[in-house]
């Protein structure tokens, strides 16, 4: 949606190094060390994956790694919980369809 640049209690958003991640092929700037879900939410990405049978959209639900609603395919590995996985320079993130494609890695 939007980064909180200024906050009445927490103050201004501290400076942070930037990294570039690739979301469905597009480069996106993220703050070093932040969670993938936070970086994607800051861009306003409406959903992170679609369900297996009914292809319904899903995004974060618990935000603390408990529910698995936020999983995506990260660097080729499906079902990574994006709310508790930090971004890394050059990371490739894909909106996951169903169980995702393991590319023969299973």
């Amino acid at each position: 949606m939007q980064r909180i640049l200024d906050h009445p209690i927490l103050g201004p958003l501290p400076e942070e190094e930037k990294v570039t991640i690739y979301v469905d092929g597009e480069p996106v700037e993220a703050r070093k060390g932040e969670m993938i879900a936070a970086a994607l939410m800051a861009t306003g990405k409406p959903y992170f994956r679609k369900t297996v049978k009914r292809h319904e959209p899903r995004s974060i639900f618990c935000g603390i790694g408990r529910c698995t609603d936020c999983v995506m395919t990260v660097n080729g590995t499906p079902n990574v919980r994006t709310c508790v996985t930090a971004v890394e320079e050059g990371m490739v993130i894909e909106t996951q369809m169903g169980f995702g494609d393991w590319g023969g890695k299973r």
Binding site: M1, I9, L10, M41, P46, P57, R58, C62
Partner: protein, 363 residues
């Protein structure tokens, strides 16, 4: 096999205080948490606590967290982050996985479980749509990650978490369109509720969410009035234009490890459901396992800290680290604080519920 006097699982306010208290008594403590950062829910709590001064009233949760971490560092407490506790065996062996890659078992003479609680969900048609999330999830997003989950929010639940997170969403720059509460009266502390009211947010008691609409994300929600039997009253529906629906419908203790280990359970509806039986010293039905904080019954951060101290103190004492008189006086002091926190309109109910747990048969 690696051996430690005490392994504390969970580094929220309860676990941190347990580790500090036990280390101060002289025990060799290992504190593990699955997160990359310690503190549990504490660093999301940017509001001031209240109660009496010795309970850090007027201090914000984030600042308490910083002080506790400093203290833990001074005491040289061993902390393993990114470490998930997966099970407890033979009552004194903790199986952990570090960095999602290394599996090992630690022999722990005493185990303190401070695993916290999980948010409850409320189901309604459309509740799986992106934009519907736990109030705690929204709190994590704004206060930890500094990203707004949405601009127009509907809050379900007027308990403390509901009103505190509503206020924090306002502080973060979002609009809170309404707070709905199914019960006929509001659930949170007056101070927190009043701040949200003063900001002009409408409260709808005796109302619930009928459904959420949207294609790829929440676009609106339908609210409906409930009758005395909590059934929707036809014709009272109205729609609100929101992009985010937060659910603050209470918490359920995270008891998996405790029950997996074989701790006896007691049902405590007031404190969130099934909890491990425990006594005043926070010892469970398994003598080597102690619990503290939300896992022993959902209360708040201040009680979690005192329970943590009690568990740390008692576990260390049971290993012979404290003289009886020192133990007794510290025990009394902590108990005194707990009683003070469990008084008043909201506190008394929790005190009664705690006493009912302790009075239940140990089994």
């Amino acid at each position: 096999m690696m051996e430690r006097d005490i392994v504390v699982i969970g580094s929220g306010p309860a676990g941190l205080c347990a580790a500090i208290e036990a280390a101060e008594a002289g025990a060799k403590v290992l504190l593990v948490d699955e997160n990359a950062k310690p503190g549990g829910q504490l660093f999301k709590q940017i509001h001031k606590f209240f109660g009496s001064r010795e309970h850090s009233a007027g201090v914000r949760g984030i600042d308490i967290g910083t002080l506790l971490l400093q203290k833990a560092e001074e005491l040289d407490i061993e902390v393993w982050l990114n470490t998930e506790a997966c099970g407890i065996f033979d009552q004194d062996k903790v199986w952990v996985v570090r960095d999602k890659s290394t599996s090992l078992t630690i022999h722990a003479k005493r185990i303190i479980l401070a695993t916290g609680a999980n948010e409850n969900v409320v189901n309604f048609p459309g509740w799986t749509l992106p934009g519907v999330m736990g109030a705690g999830a929204a709190q994590t997003m704004i206060n930890i990650h500094r990203v707004l989950p949405g601009r127009k929010i509907l809050m379900i639940g007027s308990g403390n978490v509901g009103v505190i997170v509503s206020y924090q969403l306002l502080q973060a720059g979002a609009q809170v369109k309404a707070v709905v509460e199914a019960a006929p009266q509001l659930g949170g502390y007056g101070v927190h509720t009043a701040k949200v009211r003063r900001a002009g947010v409408p409260f709808y008691t005796g109302h619930t969410v009928l459904e959420a609409h949207g294609t790829d994300h929440v676009e609106s929600a339908v609210i409906v009035k409930l009758d005395a039997a909590w059934k929707p009253i036809a014709g009272t529906e109205f729609s609100v234009d929101v992009d985010t629906i937060c659910i603050a419908a209470g918490l359920t203790p995270a008891v998996e490890l405790a029950f997996g280990a074989g701790c006896r359970s007691v049902n405590s509806p007031v404190l969130g459901g099934l909890v491990p039986w425990h006594d005043e010293s926070m010892r469970t039905s398994i003598p080597s396992i102690y619990i503290a904080g939300d896992v022993s019954g959902v209360e708040e951060a201040s009680t979690a800290m005192e329970e943590g101290r009690m568990a740390g103190l008692s576990a260390a004492h049971s290993l012979g680290y404290l003289e009886a008189s020192r133990y007794r006086s510290r025990f009394e002091a902590i108990n005194h604080n707990l009683l003070a926190l469990r008084s008043g309109m909201f506190g008394q109910k929790r005190r009664d519920a705690k006493e009912a747990i302790m009075a239940a048969r140990k089994g």
